[in-house]
Subunit: 458 residues, 2 copies
């Protein structure tokens, strides 16, 4: 492992350059105008991996954006690890808030700044670089490794299930590793053992057939913006609980042991709050902040719009108003069921003066890892070897639908070994990647492959 580790040190600068080159491709999966960029993005990754001596490397087309698959089967008798990542990125608006342009990666303060640097191109490259270090120094990997990098994670991984079903035998593995999460704090190696799920919908409230003069008609017809506001307001009670009937019915209650484990983490609530810039903590009554964001379901408006939004004043009763509403889900909530509950309730809340349309956009199921499986100890050891610090179990409030999908499909434990930072602006302007973490991440991945080579197949 010394050769491998030295190789990673020696090629540190080039690894950074190569990541920057890839980040320049604006791979925004949600925007139809970037379809060609998505293809170029996948092609770029395929070419990069092709230079690392895989048995196979392929671009897998889907109904949407393509995925990239590669495999190294140089270790007969050794376990097979399936590594998952994604090559698509979030949209960039509001663009004016970026200090440097999102697709012109810049290095400042020991960080790389740009869209996708940490979510998830940087984390994909951590594995590519670890693979390279073995291949170049040892001629082969110590385990069998399969890499699947999808192009639709930021839009709900809609075609991933089908892709996995169609390629089930090629994706078969003993363990799964997902690198798309953040560490608990700066330099604290963390294994994520829980993810929230997601339910995302768009609701539109329509009133008049067109915008009306608010003088001539104001007071006589329902105003869709006011109505939508009232409907949204009724989705929470004064304790911050979601009021949608049935919403909490299947929620797994946190055990006393789980609450104790969460409470034992070195969580600095003041610092966390400062990182958001919000003036105060807020949330469901009766739970700590970590419990709220990791293990309690939520309902949030991600966007709202309707009527006149320009400069100045326009006196209209808007014809319609819309909102994007999403719920973060916890075991054992199911996205489709929650979607139906929320949609029904929204329709029930609407007064006769409007019509309501609800469009289900996408969902993802929550995940909780079987932490008593021995591979979690193996992963902890690898992480600790790279960082020189104890590894903690954490959860993540976000969603990676793939994790639950592959966990259910394979029945294999899924290691969530993430190298992001909690305040890295993953879905916001000025996304950044800590370059020291990037470097130690490459080493952690290498140690993981090494540690896994010493245990049997699962």
């Amino acid at each position: 492992m010394d050769d491998v580790s030295r190789y990673i040190d020696q090629h540190r600068a080039r690894f950074v350059d190569e990541l920057a080159t890839w980040v320049k491709i604006p791979a925004i999966s949600s925007d139809p105008s970037h379809v060609k960029d998505m293809a170029a993005n996948a092609e770029h990754l395929k070419n990069h991996l092709a230079a690392l001596g895989p048995d196979q490397v392929e671009v897998w087309p889907t109904k949407g954006h393509p995925a990239v698959f590669a495999e190294w089967n140089h270790a007969p008798g050794k376990p097979t690890l399936l590594v998952y990542g994604h090559h698509d990125v979030q949209p960039v608006d509001p663009l004016p808030e970026w200090i440097s342009p999102p697709f012109e990666p810049a290095i400042r303060e020991g960080r790389m700044w740009g869209r996708g640097v940490v979510d998830d191109k940087g984390q994909v490259m951590i594995h590519a670089n670890a693979i390279e270090a073995f291949v170049k120094t040892q001629k082969k990997l110590p385990i069998n490794l399969k890499l699947i990098v999808e192009g639709e994670e930021e839009i709900g991984s809609e075609n991933l299930d089908e892709l996995m079903r169609a390629n089930a035998s090629r994706l078969a593995a003993d363990f799964v590793c997902v690198s798309d999460t953040a560490m608990f704090g700066r330099g604290i190696p963390s294994l994520c053992v829980g993810l929230r799920g997601l339910m995302y919908l768009e609701v539109t409230v329509s009133g008049p057939k067109g915008d009306l003069h608010s003088g001539s008609f104001g007071g006589g017809v329902a105003n869709p913006v006011n109505v939508l506001a009232k409907m949204i307001a009724k989705l929470h009670d004064d304790d911050g609980k979601v009021t949608v009937p049935g919403f909490y019915d299947k929620v797994a209650i946190l055990t006393a042991a789980e609450r104790k484990e969460i409470a034992s983490l070195p969580f600095d609530e003041k610092e966390w709050l400062a990182s958001t810039g919000s003036p105060a903590i807020s949330g469901e009554k009766g739970f700590s902040t970590l419990e709220r964001v990791w293990a309690r379901p939520t309902l949030d408006c991600n966007g709202i719009w309707g009527g006149f939004q320009g400069e100045g004043a326009k006196t209209i009763i808007p014809a319609r108003a819309s909102a994007k509403i999403s719920c973060r889900l916890v075991p054992h909530q199911e996205p489709e069921e929650i979607q139906q509950l929320v949609a029904s309730y929204l329709k029930k809340l609407a007064p006769p003066g409007v019509t309501v349309r609800v469009e289900y956009m996408h969902g993802g199921r929550p995940y909780l890892a079987p932490t008593d499986h021995p591979v979690f100890e193996v992963a902890k050891r690898a992480f600790t070897r790279a960082f020189g610090k104890p590894t903690v179990f954490i959860r993540e409030g976000g969603s990676i639908p793939f994790v639950r999908t592959i966990a259910d499909a394979t029945g294999k434990p899924c290691l969530l070994m993430g190298f992001g930072q909690p305040d890295e602006n993953a879905h916001a302007p000025n996304e950044w990647l800590d370059l020291e973490n990037f470097h130690l991440g490459i080493k952690s991945a290498a140690f993981l492959y090494d540690e896994l080579s010493r245990i049997g197949k699962s």
Copy 2:
């Protein structure tokens, strides 16, 4: 008066042609690219009036678009009437919805179609044509008449107050007539005796310093969109009453006589509702639809925006959310006072997890005519002579700030004698003018001048 009436009949076609010629000038006051058109528009009107033998006709420049002023002082000892109109027009978007181009006036179905045909060029020409009929048949007008036609009505009459102050003595009159409103229904002569005022503000709710990942942070900080929705929802109670403390304190309660008069109008609520396209009537409990839109104050969101509004899904806690909120006011509410009440209440409704900023945009005071003044009977008689039908008193839910301004400045009664139709699309595509109404409007104006000549100065 027979000569005058016959002249109006004989020149009917030419009056229509002359209006069409003027309508061709695209006098959109809100669009800086039409500054030259605004000047040409004023010049066109000035030249038209100059041919009608005025003592004076002038273009009055302002900081914005020019006004046109003319006066006929041929009737010593007779009262002076000040007629107000405006020569600017609304924007035309969405252009594709126009059946014929907005500035190429077309005649179909007994109507002229084009931008400004009724709001307000047609109504200005009604007076110009009535003046012409007297001048050509009687060599003079039966009263003294002053005509002020401003160029900024559609953008808030920002420079009108200053213009009026600077020319107070030249604008002095016994009575004021504004022709910029609509009739109650097809062929029902209507005097508008009440206008609502306006208070317009913008509120912004800020939470995190930037958009946050709704997975990592959702549940832990206040979401500005949800908070704004909750604040807006709390501005009305379940009976549709505005909950802002003090909001109704100065509202003039409708008298039993006023309610009876409103109830006696041939109002077709089904037709009114159908014209909006809304699925149901909605509004403040305890009042009829006409009472609600004419004589009760309202609070409406004219626009709302925040967070992600694009195609697809973006899972964020938005950094901020904003809404444009306006109130229609009735006597004796004052815009500045209502602004302070609404702003204070909005700030009070905000939870600790957000900050709130309120920006006051503009306002206008409500108007209620002194209908017991004898000039209203005079105006009714004139209208009835032209249309052969009884004249009704109506109100208008919209605002014409000039009316209250001139009423307060002069202390004189203001006659709102409008010739539009309620469904004339004044601020929408396919604006139209009923040509029969245009013709009878010219006669009504002539009869008004004649009737006023028989009473004393006010």
